[in-house]
């Protein structure tokens, strides 16, 4: 893929992270304020609340989108740092492959977990 396309998605992923990480931060760390506003969850990190969130379609989708964006953005950033170390073409190719496989693998695994938790609704009381 052309570098300009890779970079374009790097920027888009950055913007996505900004929005979704902001949402994550608000839910996890501004729980007192959100409670004052009559919204949000009490005790955000308890297992019951985490399960409750995971079983909502909105959160399941945001987890997957954030995972994809964070993986792409982070791995592209690491690839950039490595490419700047004056490495040869062969090593560059290897890095491209390793990072692509690692990225896709982690994304598939993370997506599977998110969907698995979402579906657990049916088995939980």
């Amino acid at each position: 893929m052309r570098e300009s396309t890779l970079w374009f998605w790097h920027i888009i992923a950055g913007a996505v992270i900004l929005v979704f990480l902001g949402l994550h931060m608000a839910i996890m760390h501004l729980d007192d304020i959100l409670a004052l506003l009559g919204t949000g969850y009490a005790n955000t990190v308890s297992a019951a609340t985490v399960f409750a969130r995971s079983q909502q379609t909105f959160f399941m989708v945001t987890y997957i989108v954030l995972l994809g964006a964070a993986l792409y953005h982070g791995l592209y950033g690491c690839r950039t740092i490595l490419f700047e170390l004056n490495i040869g073409k062969g090593l560059q190719k290897l890095i491209n492959w390793v990072f692509t496989l690692a990225g896709v693998g982690l994304f598939v695994y993370g997506t599977y977990v998110a969907i698995y938790l979402y579906k657990m609704k049916e088995v939980l009381p």
């Binding site: 570098e3 300009s4 396309t5 970079w7 374009f8 920027i11 950039t80 700047e84 170390l85 004056n86």
Partner: protein, 278 residues
């Protein structure tokens, strides 16, 4: 104190990096005591050393007025033009001079600028037009408004001194990175309303060692002796590419030929150009 002694110029120490391939195993520093009368530039000091103390000292310089770009050196910790910096303005009685960092050393203060000019050539630093015939056999001038000139003029002030690359942290680690000078010059032409070569330059400037590798440290703009802002040019270039990906940038059609000037009467105060004598 006698009058002549009171007016005697102060002395400064020039500590200069010396390296003569085949003679020196590795670069070393050598000190020279130089009289520093008011107005002495670093280049004047080097010339004084060469004439009075050590004719083997080497560097590049030509115009002595900040125009040719050949005398850029690493002076007291920053890349600067030797001819455009007075010793008094450095506020130190020790002037430490080394060749520009991020380049191989040919000899003493002479850096190897070959890779620098190769990168400059790679971005095709000239107007590219689809109609080559008009370029080869021009019949007029391409139109350009004052506003269009403002779009690129500051980037056209580059004198190819190489100081920006020597300050760039990305160039320091990535030899293949095009660097601020070449990228700024690419933008100088892409932003020119007469140019049609953006697509032709894209492969080079948006490669894995092109504009996207700029971390926006801004050191290039900080040290540029001509006030060019290469870091800004690179950000404009990234913005251009981003908009293009979103479908917001149409291919530029270079400006048309300007109509010939009619009924032009030269101003009286301008003397007539001399006739050709050959």
């Amino acid at each position: 104190m006698s009058e002549s002694h009171a007016n005697a110029p102060q002395k400064v120490i020039f500590e200069v990096l010396r390296y003569i391939p085949g003679v020196d195993a590795k670069p070393r520093m050598q000190s020279y005591e130089v009289p520093a009368p008011k107005g002495l530039t670093v280049l004047d000091g080097l010339l004084w050393i060469k004439e009075n103390l050590d004719p083997t000292l080497s560097w590049r310089s030509s115009c002595r007025m900040g125009v040719c770009g050949s005398c850029a050196m690493f002076i007291n910790g920053l890349p600067r033009l030797a001819c455009a910096n007075q010793v008094a303005h450095l506020h130190s009685d020790k002037i430490i001079i080394k060749p520009l960092p991020n380049y191989a050393i040919i000899r003493d203060l002479v850096p190897d600028l070959e890779p620098f000019f190769a990168k400059h050539a790679a971005i095709k630093p000239f107007l590219i037009r689809k109609n080559i015939e008009e370029l080869d056999n021009p019949t007029g001038e391409f139109f350009q408004s004052k506003e269009e000139l403002v779009n690129y003029i500051q980037f056209a002030y580059c004198i190819k001194c190489g100081a920006c690359l020597s300050a760039c942290p990305t160039v320091a680690t990535d030899d293949a990175y095009l660097g601020p000078q070449a990228l700024a010059q690419a933008w100088r032409y892409i932003a020119d309303a007469r140019d049609e070569g953006a697509a032709e330059r894209e492969e080079e400037i948006f490669s894995a060692h092109g504009a996207f590798r700029c971390h926006f440290a801004g050191a290039c703009s900080e040290v540029c002796p001509k006030g060019v802002d290469p870091a800004f040019a690179i950000q404009l270039m990234k913005q251009f590419m981003f908009k293009k990906k979103l479908g917001g940038c149409k291919e530029q059609h270079g400006s048309e030929l300007a109509p010939p000037v009619e009924n032009w009467v030269p101003k009286k105060e301008y003397p007539k150009a001399p006739e050709h004598s050959l």
